[in-house]
Amino acid sequence: MKYLDEYRSADSARRLAEQIACITTRLWTIMEVCGGQTHAIVRFGIDELLPPNITLVHGPGCPVCVTPVEIIDKAIEIAALPGVILTSFGDMLRVPGTAEDLLSVKARGGDVRMVYSPMDALALAKAKPDRQVVFFAVGFETTAPANAMAVAEARRQRITNFSMLVSHVLVPPAIEAILSSPDCRVQGFLAAGHVCTIMGSLEYEPLAAKYGVPIVITGFEPLDILDGIRLCVKQLEESRAEVENAYARAVRSEGNRPAQALIADVFRVVHRRWRGIGEIPRSGLALSERYAEFDADLRFGGGSRTVEESSECISGLVLQGLKKPQECPAFGTRCTPEYPLGATMVSSEGACAAYYRYRRFAEPTHV
């Protein structure tokens, strides 16, 4: 497929890796923010192509992983109500809440359905006017415009049996939370390319300036990731800390204006708890006042709660790049994708799940 295959050439990847080795003179730690990039790095063995003085650490960019347990519990409660059809993206249905996941509700007879797009959930609401259709909306800035469109269309078409349980998260506040931690060891970032197709690059400028870190907007294919690493290392070696765009075929500095306008109309910025990390100020999106009637949390009488997470799970440290998955004593034994203890083992894009899938028989190298 055009714009995929040519970015997976093994020969070109090796040549980019050689260039990275040529310019690297010191030890550098770089974080890729997005779970899609983590998955590609582990799947294609990109970290193994790099010189040993570059360490890649994996960031919190997996929305499924960081959705707090209390919101999953809420989704489970709503799904169990009579007359409700609860819909979400496939990954969300297997994430364990306190006692069970959404698929267990389905197994007991609840109507829980996987959808490809929030618009499919809206179409379902239209087709079944006697049922309450709830879409459990998670995601970063990439997914926010699509979810916003479903709510805006529900209002425009007066589809009153549709609502949304929103647990959206935002990338820049998470990067700032990592950088402001006293334990932070990240010296440069690969920013998530598809988030930036929507939001552009400008919101990263203050972060690069304040914390003195290079931030390189990076794509998802092996050549994209290697080129992002190359530009990041080049900046580090030259003591520069700039926002640079290595994914210009898809990302413009101003981002996608029509998508931003719809996000601003439908959502508002709120404080949000991240599973494994804790509350990050102004790091989430919730429905704005104008769309409150479509808020499933209000419609089905939510209320806030806090849930204790497994004390054995170190996913919070993994999500902040402070530990690698194999450093957890439960990795691959008491914690597997079938029976996950925590966030990062749940989604296929979580760092622990990626290591379990591609690396569980490998000897740990950088621990």
Binding site: T143, A250, P258, A259
Partner: protein
């Protein structure tokens, strides 16, 4: 989760920007894609598609940048 796949627009239905739907080809698979967020996209363009929405038009000139760089280092190696 933020997975987006490039595909080519083969057909466009609807003339108002907010309800434009494109028939988009991904290798051998065709899908209807909402084009509301890419009003500039035309027939034949490649777009990145995420959960049923095109989120960006792919810029062909920028797409060749990494390959131009690879050619440049090849040239350096041959001449150097």
């Amino acid at each position: 989760m933020c997975l987006a796949v490039p595909g080519q627009i083969l057909e466009i239905q609807g003339d108002q920007p907010e309800i434009r739907i494109g028939r988009v080809r991904f290798g051998g698979i065709m899908k209807d894609v909402n084009l509301a967020f890419v009003p500039e996209a035309q027939l034949g363009d490649y777009v990145l598609v995420h959960v049923g929405f095109a989120i960006s038009r792919i810029d062909e000139a920028e797409a060749s940048r990494v390959f131009a760089y690879l050619q440049e280092i090849d040239g350096d190696e041959i001449s150097g």
